[in-house]
């Protein structure tokens, strides 16, 4: 088991390396450079700027330099504000991380509850409601839902605020209740979590239905176990495995979704940062944010694989 975890963790290194390489060369193909402006500068100044940031060197040399620094944990600086990229990722990533974490939490809770209820009341009114939610929720893009929610709940009813994020700005404030402003937290989280919730509800329902038909469930009922025990211990636990398989894709959905949500609610998170970085060809920031997102996706898929073994004792990694 330990060997397996170690191998999986080590595998993240080549993943990051290949993705860094692809991104590095691709971004140099994007027309224009970080300092391309409408107005032309005197050639001497242009050369000085290029030399200052090492952009006058051939691309492969810049690549080698970047890798050299990356190995030592240095992500370089952003060309826009000369801040270290790692700082931007830390502050912006903290905000995006909160949104993603809360959304995942709500998606899993709501999705599994709905899916379980649907399966238990198979073909009843509750089941149809659940299926309706799962189908529509999976077909409505984040921005459509966000537009709808913000029009009704914020503009019309005035329940929530629209711009910015209400969570704490720094890790030290996580336990400080006054750092939270729920009026600015509810809408982005609902908008981001609905799609994954619908997805999870659908998978949970299908997998619960399959397990509920198994002989061992009939046995469990026959020997007089209480219904909640049958559901929680015998059904839900066995139905978890297909649900876990979608948690991986959901990490990716949350990443893509955060781009939209941050744009719509004007939250300065890391998705918004990436869009700005690509538009401004801010090389350091593009690389930093890409590696950050890749790391998140890789680590979450590793965690999911390890969770399989927790849920299903038959799965052994070696």
């Amino acid at each position: 088991m330990l060997g397996y975890i170690l191998r999986r963790v080590l595998w993240i290194i080549p993943v990051l390396w290949v993705i860094a390489t692809i991104t590095f060369f691709l971004m140099h193909f994007v027309p224009g450079g970080p300092f391309t402006r409408e107005k032309e500068r005197p050639p001497a100044l242009e050369r000085a700027i290029q030399a200052e940031y090492g952009l006058d060197k051939p691309v492969y040399e810049q690549y080698a330099r970047y890798l050299g620094k990356l190995v030592r944990g240095d992500l370089g600086i952003s060309f826009r504000d000369r801040q270290p990229v790692i700082e931007t990722i830390r502050t912006q990533g903290f905000i995006s991380g909160q949104i993603a974490f809360l959304s995942l939490l709500i998606a899993v809770t709501v999705g599994m509850t709905l899916g379980t209820l649907s399966a238990l009341k198979h073909n009843g009114p509750l089941d149809y409601l659940g299926v309706l939610f799962a189908t529509i929720g999976a077909s409505v893009p984040h921005f459509v839902l966000a537009a709808f929610l913000s029009t009704v709940l914020s503009v019309q009813l005035g329940w929530f605020d629209l711009l910015g994020w209400g969570g704490p700005k720094a890790a030290s404030d996580l336990l400080n209740p006054s750092a939270y402003d729920y009026r600015k937290m509810v809408l982005p989280v609902i908008a981001l979590s609905t799609l994954p919730a619908a997805y999870i509800a659908r998978v949970t329902r299908a997998s619960m239905l399959e397990v509920l038909n198994q002989d061992y469930i009939r046995t469990a009922r026959a020997k007089g176990l209480r219904e909640y025990r049958v559901v929680l211990r015998h059904t839900l636990k066995n139905a978890m495995i297909p649900v876990l398989t979608v948690i991986g894709p959901i990490a990716a959905i949350l990443v893509s979704g955060s781009f939209i949500i941050e744009e719509m609610f004007n939250i300065s998170g890391i998705g918004k940062e990436y869009v700005v970085a690509v538009r401004g060809r801010d090389y350091g920031l593009i690389m930093g944010t890409t590696l950050f997102f890749t790391l998140i996706v890789s680590v979450s898929s590793l965690v999911v694989d390890l969770l399989y073994a927790v849920v299903d004792p038959r799965i052994r990694y070696s």
């Binding site: 290949v18 692809i22 189908t135 537009a147 719509m264």
Partner: protein, 310 residues
Amino acid sequence: MATGQSVITQPLVLGDDMWGRDHRGLWTDAWRRLVRNRLAVAALFFLIVVASIAFLAPYVHVIERYSPSATSRENQLGPVADHWFGTDQLGRDMWSRTLEGIRVSIQVGLGTQIVVLTLGLFFGVLAASGGRLTDNVVMRFTDIMFSFPDLLFVILLRQILIGRDIPLLTNTAVICLAIGLIGWTTIARLVRGQMLSLAQRDFVLAARALGSPRWRIIVQHMLPNTLGPVIVAITFGIPTAIFLEASLSFLGLGVPPPVATLGSLVSEGYRVIQRNVWGVVFPATAIATLMLCFTFIGDGLRDALDPRTR
């Protein structure tokens, strides 16, 4: 001798009678099951109607009475007799613009799948039929591309390719290519897995024993048997691509203006939503409807083609 023959032929004839079924293949069976799924048929029918209207619009004056880019003084209208879906900030007819958006969405949805299918089949077959080393290299590459956050890759590639004068590479094709180049990994894994399990089956062994060349076994015996799950995955890939394109357009990173896309229409409408909700309602409904239709068709196909549900 004569009796021997009858012994051999008799059970075969009997066998056919016993099951009493006429000779229909996997695809006829699947088609019958699909037709029995009312939701999928309704979705397919509805989609064909919508697509016909959208693609005929530029040529039929009755459908499209205003060009999608023609501005007028009557801006920010709700639905009226002259403009069924109202008009936008510049007085452009939202009905024509929504139809144009639907055209782009369908083109992107289908076009992306062509790229996905080509690359997925290529890498899947390569991994399954190459040697152990090839398999390892291709699959590790697939794993890595799978971990690439798709939106980041698509945005980067879009920035590189958009607006370049490359023949055949229209702006819509750029989006298809960008989404397809990251989306093939699922198909490649699927094809490889299927091919590896098929390679153990008796009919492949029989074909090999009869001396069929390798390419022939792959193309004629193995690939057709992988098609079922691949078609299902491709169908589900369509709404995903439509979703991704709409998200890109919403961020202003999709098919550039003056072409109207559903994502950019929602984004434009959202900016003035307090004055006119209809600018968001119609394109948003269009996206959701398209995605729902393709999802229902995908569900129907999966139930029809997945042997487990038989």
